[in-house]
Assembly symmetry: D3
Homo-oligomer: 240 residues x 6
């Protein structure tokens, strides 16, 4: 288990490239601003059409390094084999208690996508809750922890939920875009065959155009944000 400091942001991904493709620009923006980000990848991409598990692991480690984030792998049954069980949810809760994160990112709950994505999203959501309960006996060796807000990211436009509060993160800064693009490109085994990198850049450009900035990435709040003042929401994602 790597020794890492308590991350400001903890991102979970089902497959080695999901975090980079779904919200890598947000990770780059946070690390670029000096905050610590840790990635937890829950399979080695064993069922994908391209790339061996070993290669995919290397690609993910290199992408994390490019993003300035730390990374670890957990096993939830293997790519395309995720099932929602209490045991696996508790395993994720253990990760949360160990790392004691602030903000948590997980894949969206929309079902009509790779089945692992929504299942991981639901288990992370429940794990963040179990991590708070004092009496769960499998977790007793670790102190309860209440994470900060949980946000979902979407690996494809189809996975964007329409029933949760959408917030848009401005990632227009050239160094953020450079870092994010490099991290996606590091997944060479995947990027070669499907138009994934172009899909994400096009999507981020469209999100940016919609609110008058260069590029942007939408995230989806699991619960309503609690604010001391509306001033912290001082810009709005609507140009047209």
């Amino acid at each position: 288990m790597p020794t890492i400091k308590t991350p400001t942001l903890l991102a979970f991904g089902a497959h080695p490239d999901d975090i980079e493709f779904g919200c890598g620009g947000v990770v780059a923006a946070e690390t670029g601003a000096g905050r610590s980000v840790h990635l937890v990848v829950c399979s080695r991409g064993e069922s994908a059409t391209h790339g061996t598990p070993a290669r995919r692991t290397r690609e993910a480690r290199r992408a994390a390094k490019l993003l300035g984030a730390t990374i670890e792998f957990v096993n939830l049954g293997g790519d395309a084999h995720f099932e929602i069980t209490v045991a696996r949810t508790i395993a994720l809760a253990r990760v949360i208690r160990r790392l004691r994160p602030g903000i948590v990112l997980a894949p969206s709950l929309v079902e009509n996508q790779h089945p692992d994505h929504a299942r991981l999203g639901r288990m992370v959501r429940d794990a963040a809750r179990l991590a708070r309960y004092g009496g769960v006996k499998e977790l007793r060796s670790l102190r309860p922890h209440a994470s900060g807000p949980l946000f979902f990211y979407a690996v494809t436009p189809e996975a964007e939920p329409t029933d949760l509060a959408r917030v848009v993160i401005d990632i227009s800064a050239p160094e953020i875009m450079r870092t994010w693009t490099a991290a996606m490109t590091a997944h060479a085994s995947q990027a070669a065959t499907r138009d994934y990198v172009e899909l994400q850049l096009t999507r981020a450009r469209l999100a940016g155009l919609r609110c008058g900035v260069g590029h942007a990435i939408p995230l989806f709040a699991s619960d309503p944000p609690l604010l001391d003042s509306l001033q912290s929401l001082g810009r709005t994602a609507r140009k047209f």
Copy 2:
């Protein structure tokens, strides 16, 4: 027309007490933090069961003073007589160009409430858009203005929309609660007969309990917020 400085926050209300009852705590929080707030009240409550227009105007002025906000009245046809017309929408756009606000607050668009509320909300939303268009001839004497984000407030729980991003404002500080309660109570003609003040305080207490603070008020974003970092959303409105 009063001479007022450009407000950080501009709140529109259909009737003399709507702003106080629907989002007075948010106004108190903003003025308490030193920001300027201006209230635009669009009727004198002429059709209410209790209170003359003159009395209601006095109550509103006093409530605004208690809130530390400036106030003005515009006429949209009279209480219970609002109709959505281009002429009235342009009149509201003229108010926006004249005041050049940052954040704008308006009553929610949910229809099953006093009909004036949703109609004003829709006209304010459209007026904020027309205020930006350079060629609207009735508005040419005033420079186009792009406001900051538009948020809706709900005068009753029934008016809370379920299809917009909900954000919750923490108004637990004792001085905010005192100011807000005083402002609601200033509408003595209304507060006496229906349980309006208790309704709002109970609602704010419930919203507070839900996220582990004393009292809170929900607002609803017309468009997704655009952020530079998730860190500005560092707390989440979920305790249970």
Copy 3:
């Protein structure tokens, strides 16, 4: 297995205090009107931060007594360990066939709450269906039974569904409120640490204010009610 008469109302709860906190006022109203209510509690609260299973069981028995209801416990895997399986659903269907209830209450299906709640709700819904099918071999020792309507209750406001018909039960009578409050307070291990009792009373007061009565509790119909006349719906939950 206790010998109880066929209950008019059968309520399922995931944890020892869920029924009391989520719909205890409705139970008190029914028993107060002379109808029989039976509670089925599906864990002993083993994973909660406070209270031992033994203490929680005692609290639940005492609360049931205060409510004038009978109670029994079934085991669905333990607190925080519910999983949706056919075997457990059939176990619940067996309870339904044994008790042959009229109306059934279960926790709401909204997911973003304690995971046991929605899982129990879904299993009860499916169990009520399996209880009707003549050929399920594990159930053959008990005669098929078609329950009356199924309603969901919400343990917190977050769990209130927006996609089901909402009905509001008037629990304003002082003896109902007294009984309900006593039943909640009987869960002393839980009530001490979190603002649960105040949460529920505030919520019921708000629901009451919304429709012009003292206190009220919302329930959510799994299927549309079938009526002989609209006259049985003679009041409406809207004051403002």
Copy 4:
């Protein structure tokens, strides 16, 4: 203006046959149970492909008589010419104050149907509210009145809302079905050319089959019902 006694049920229709086709079975069930029902028809069908206004008026009067209901006509601008205005809404509020009904029925708010339907539905909803406000000067000659619950009916399946609580009225009794069918058939100018009568009977049979009775008609509650006990919802509209 006819002198009628205070109706238990007041139904508004945009065109001479809308009430009969959309909820005539419910009217027949209520009058059959001895309750008074009054119909307010808001046009003479002037824009329909078939039938003169005079003929349509005669047909509506005869259908009302068959249903055992009283009827009157008000003018909202003519068939296909309804517009939502405050003046017309107040005219409807005046009808409500004059008649002082219990339950009110109006056409559904779903927009993609004859435009008059949804417009009338929205104006009736708002009129029921204005009828309660003491200060509306155009209404001062009549005492304020708070109606009972408002339900919407759908003239076609397309107009059934999915966002309101659905209740289903059992109209299986042979005398109700006979009366309803006769009332629909009385609109001979309409029934001849389009399959309206078969549409409604088929729809009612399907609604009946769904809940295990002969025929049924769905209605949609504008606000959640407020009940003293769940026992008044003792059957549920789900057979399969």
Copy 5:
């Protein structure tokens, strides 16, 4: 395993009669137009109130013959015992790789029906996805296959989703109606006791009346259709 040619249409059913009752008219229309259809039935109806597994299997074979379709049975755990597992999903993906279908039909995902229906629908949806992934080791013996569009059918009106694109298939031709009715009637063990055949014919007549044809069946697209021209959607399902 029967040797069948690659079907144009592949329909999955949870119980021996589900396909016939839910979309048998669509199957009849396709086979009547000369296209090959294959049915995959995933239980023998072991838990139904009426009919032995052997009888139900015979009825299903006969119904398939009447429809002009081929049929096979797979075992997903038995009637009323479906559970969503990766192993079963992969078993269904294997069926898809073996048969290499164009269009796929599966039961709707709406939950409040026989639990097997929605579970099969979700597993078929996921299986169609897994069938495309090159690296799923349990599937390596069969070449990956990307099916054509996936549509859901509803066995009862309650199962019709409101969140997916609805398309309506015209089955008015007398020979289609005759074939479909015969196929439903072939399930004599089921048709005798509940009004299933009348339910489906009434439903299809209502769907037909709504769009001005004799009879019709709605289907629900899992993903938006991709068209070269709007001309392929040249009629619209709206008469009233």
Copy 6:
């Protein structure tokens, strides 16, 4: 009034460039396939920040020519001055009766965009209905006409409805893309200042990537399509 032949496709736009930006690629695909398309533009862009009405009219005529479509202008009160009235709806119904179109395109009904868009969309929807009614006296000089299906287009991503069936039109052919781009660029007064052309091309590229083609445009069906066979929906807009 220009003499034009009955168009296969009739598209309505609120402003001179709306059709081109919102669905110009679809128009190009239809005219490229030899079908006749007619554009009805309902203002001259009088309120826009850039471009005189005369210039905008010229640009629109030139764009229509590039698209291979005919064009005419009608006056609905002027840019930013649309109001929903019966008189204007009937004026649009008269256009429909005169032109007797097959498929009709109109701007989406989503409200939070330029207010003219949704108002025109609602009036076109209602006009298509009034055009069918035989008795509307203002329309008696023209024979009733039942148009083919009505589809909505979205001028911006924000205007895409989530409650209507989405269909995606493949416009990847190079000549379609060239024609569409030229038509957008013909609106030089608008294209210069805001990133409108890039917005639309990015949006179409993203829609294309999502379903594995070059570029695509989504449309939204006002009513469910009625089909003789699922084979006409043989591709599906889902790649990932």
